[in-house]
């Protein structure tokens, strides 16, 4: 408790609480996780909002992300400049969205961004190929991959424009009840 006060001001903590799905304790825990990633970089005093970024290499070394095939995308999506280097805010954001409490739409929105490799606002065939390759570690042949992409587009593309928009994606996610529990990183 005493330690908490030195890291954040009361207002800061409250703001974090209001902006994430975490309790105070979880925020502190996440902060220490963050701090542990780069102890010499991240100060233990955040009351003055220092502008610190932990580089992607360190972020992706977290056990929660280390083996995730999408770790790079996750870091890119949640980092401010899309380069994967994260501030504490980005870090909290990331785990807030990935937490159990986050609603389906929020999760779907970020999942969509994660799968949208070229950031064009749509999941196109190329994005799908990337996704499938990442998922299967290249075990499928090129034809199989393209067949899969075709099938996915076939299934999920509601407006038949040849690519998945956010709405197509959300619509599909609605039909996959497991998404809520699987798009979830425990901390």
């Amino acid at each position: 408790m005493g330690n908490k006060q030195t890291v954040f001001t009361h207002e800061q903590l409250e703001a974090y609480q209001d902006c994430t799905f975490f309790t105070r304790k979880e925020i502190m825990r996440l902060f220490y996780r963050y701090q542990d990633l780069a102890p010499q970089l991240v100060p233990l005093d955040y009351t003055s909002c220092p502008d610190v970024k932990v580089p992607y290499e360190l972020i992706s070394s977290m056990p929660e992300l280390k083996d995730n095939p999408f770790r790079q995308r996750i870091a890119q999506v949640f980092s401010e400049d899309g380069d994967g280097h994260m501030t504490l805010d980005n870090f909290l954001d990331m785990f807030s969205v990935m937490s159990e409490m986050a609603p389906r739409d929020l999760k779907a929105y970020y999942a969509f961004k994660i799968y949208d490799f070229n950031n064009d606002g749509y999941i196109c065939a190329w994005d799908l190929e990337q996704t499938v390759t990442k998922l299967t570690r290249g075990e499928l042949s090129a034809e199989e991959v393209s067949l899969v992409c075709e099938k996915v587009l076939d299934e999920a593309d509601g407006d038949h424009d040849g690519r998945l928009s956010l709405e197509d994606f959300q619509n599909m996610i609605l039909r996959a009840p497991d998404f809520l529990s699987t798009f979830h990183i425990r901390i």
């Binding site: 401010e80 499938v132 998922l135 899969v148 407006d159 497991d178 529990s181 425990r186």
Partner: protein, 999 residues
Amino acid sequence: MSAYYRNNGYEEDPDYPDYSESWNRSWGHLKTQDYTDSPDTLKNSGYPIPRSNPYSADYRTSLDYPKSLAEPDYPGSQNNPEESGTRSNPFFAGSRSSDYPTSLAEPDYVGSWSKPSHSGSSREPGYSESQRNSDFGGSRSSGNYAGSRTNPDYLDYLGEPDYPGAQGNTNHPGSRANSNHPGSRRNPEHAGSGIIPYVDVLGEPDYPGAENQPNSPNFFWEPDYPRAENSPNFWGKPDYPVTEDGRDYGSSETSEITREVLSRTSSFRPSLRHRGDGSLGIVGRENEDYPENIAMKSMNMASVPGASGNGYVNPAYVGESSPHPVYGNPPLSGCEWHKSPEGQKLIASLIPMTSRDRIKAIRNQPRTMEEKRNLRKMVDKEKSKHSHRMFELNCCAQCLSSISRAYRRSKNSLSELLDYISLWQKTLKVIGSKFGTSVLSYFNFLRWLLKFNIFSFIVTFSFIIIPQFTVAEKNTLQFTGLELLTGAGYFRDTVMYYGFYTNSTIRHGNGRASYNMQLAYIFTIGACLIICFFSLLFSMARYFRNNFINPHIYSRGIAKLIFCWDFTVTNETAVKLRQKNLSTEIRENLSEILQENVKLTLNQQLIRLSAHLAAWFVSTGVAVACCVAVYYLAENNSEFLKNHKDPGAVLLLPFIVSCINLAVPRLYSLFRLVERYEMPRHEVYTLLIRNIFLKISIIGILCYYWLNIVAQAGEECWETLIGQEIYRLLLMDFVFSLADSFLGEFLRRLIGMQFITSLGLQEFDIARNVLELIYAQTLVWIGTFFCPLLPFIQMITLFIMFYVKNISLMMNFQPPSKAWRASQMMTFFIFLLFFPSFTGVLCTLAITIWRLKPSADCGPFRGLPFFIHSIYGWIDSLSKRPSYLWVVWIYQNLIGSVHFFFILTLIVLIITYLYWQITEGRKIMIRLLHEQIINEGKDKMFLIEKLTKLQDMEKRANTSSFTQERRDVEQPGALYVKEHDAAFDLRFRRSVQEENPKA
């Protein structure tokens, strides 16, 4: 110019009433084109952007959520209220909500138009002029082709004799403003109509707010054009009247519109304030007038499952997901975002919310932390300004808000506390990281059952066991240790069993406080069961709602495989294994899709069918045989026990039962070698059904034995005997599971790893394990009446089981190879727990309480003819006391009355039927909407094509060729567009031609 417009509109007036959406739409389209093409004003500079970006994400966002149809909060619409937009809103909203088939198309103009304008404004924040301009553009469009709408409307009003007072009001912006203030007109309407959002207004000729409308022509156009013509400082003043106008219009319409308009109006407020105009008061007041709007909106959203918070989220999504990079918003940095119109709007919509909703809305924003924090700060600031102003009026509200804040704080700390208590977070994380969500669901189920039992234990402990402790007699029996297994002997005379409880009324000291043990016993057990019933029901309903959200769930969705990567899995080997499994599964899936139409020959079908039949026959036969065996064993057991005085002999029956439970399910799972189901899911379900049939029928036969043989045999204290039997069954089951985990699974691993390596590691059989849990829980529920301490025992066994299963899982198992529908299976499990299990328990206990004679000299009900007579006696005694007559009345007329239940059943049946019909209707609606989305997609593609064509042409075009171009573009138009094209074309061409020379 404006005059011409008006006239023009007037001419067209006959058309006006049948403003259908298609109309609107095509018109809007045309209109906008008009603007862009007409070289006259600076407006042009604003327009091209919007034009080019019209089919942006917003449109689709709104379409995708059916509910958003009814939902008014349109992102781009912000600017509307100020200008023409409001006027047009009615149409917009109306068309949106009232007729689906065509109207859906509209919204896209909205977002698309307004967005570019935002982007424009944010790009050049210093250039107030441009901002205005773009705002103008935005408003137009956001109101749905605002331009189109506005013009004719004015015209209508001007020329139309139907609206009396049109001339009268014209010059008094102030008066209009006044009428606005109270908000009284608006709110009631709002409240009323919010409930029936579909009642909308398309083409409704009598605008209630018509008194105000006549005003518009004067204010609208005059200040409008100047502004467009680049007079930045013109803005503040002449605009306000217009704003008021807009609002008035909005208010005159039905709720949706109102809401929409309001949200826009209010959303604009901050920017007004920015400018430092004197309008603060008005606007501020305005805002306060509509808390309901927003509240209602949020309620709407809350009521739609799975869509909570959409309303707030939408605008934000919209902002980010602009698909056209060319015109897309420049990424606003965190500190700027809240200044953008969308941000402003959001802030404004957040202000009137309760703090809880607000936090929820802020949290659900897909924005970065900094943006969210700024948003929060801004909202708080606005809020505090508000509350400052409102202080005198609303100190009550302040009080409320402080209470709510305190409540929130305490809730936070409570959740922190619960978080602290919540068991096994770390372990669960490890399990999830290695085995994924599906195996995790078993452990979650276990934990859920554990909580259930903790609760039951607390209830029974505090209301039965503690009071009994206070009057407990000395236990004279010897404790040997074997009792732990048999549950007999020493334990017979403890609080563990029914027979030990007293039937007297407990009194301590000389106080008047007394505690009737008989009533306490029956009420506590009853309350426990009722609470279990409801919590089961609610969790079942929640699962159903979350997991069967869509009526048509496609059986083989490859998309789901791809996008539902399990992010919980973080262990390296597990990830690799999972990737491998996934690729095999995808391959299987593909081959399945490719060879979908391979039909089996008749012969093969016959063979398969007979295999299924044989398997069912054998499995049912085995189950029946087991039941018969258990029954005879139980019957002979009592005689056997009379002859053998060895206390361990009682363990024979539970041992046999546990053996059956251990062996037969494994036999069943061998059947799959014969049956060969095509779908693994079918196999799982068949296996589940067979297993549950076996277990439930064994429990059923045991219950029959207990209630019909043991209870009637006239033994002393038969309730305790039953309690002991259940205790032994439970314990034996536990021992078997332990042995199975430590020996069976371990041996299986040894065999798999050392001897027959082709077998490999086994997968964790979630279904079988869950069924074991259900079986044990059923026993506990039955036994609670005879052995109130049973939940406590189950608590301990579950606790141990968790660790044992966890260790065994880590050592002996590998992650499941199939993507397992964990959440759907969980729903199924909870349903199983509810349906045969819990309802069976209720039946058993009902028979016990109503039909059986309690033993004569032990237990709280000794001496009564039936258990239920304790209640009758209580009611009798109450009826002698006049102050409790209402209880008697309730009992006699509601609980004890057949008629009441008859009527209740009837009502429930009717309601069920109605709801069923509603669901059917919704299904049709969903199908229609789905078709519509597809159509819209086609439409959109088509229009985009046209637009790009148009753009290309525009680059080359000069003013003279303008008409020709338009025709080109419109020629291949969609059917419904075409219908009205001609008329509009004419009109617009005329108007544009009129405009052009002037320019």
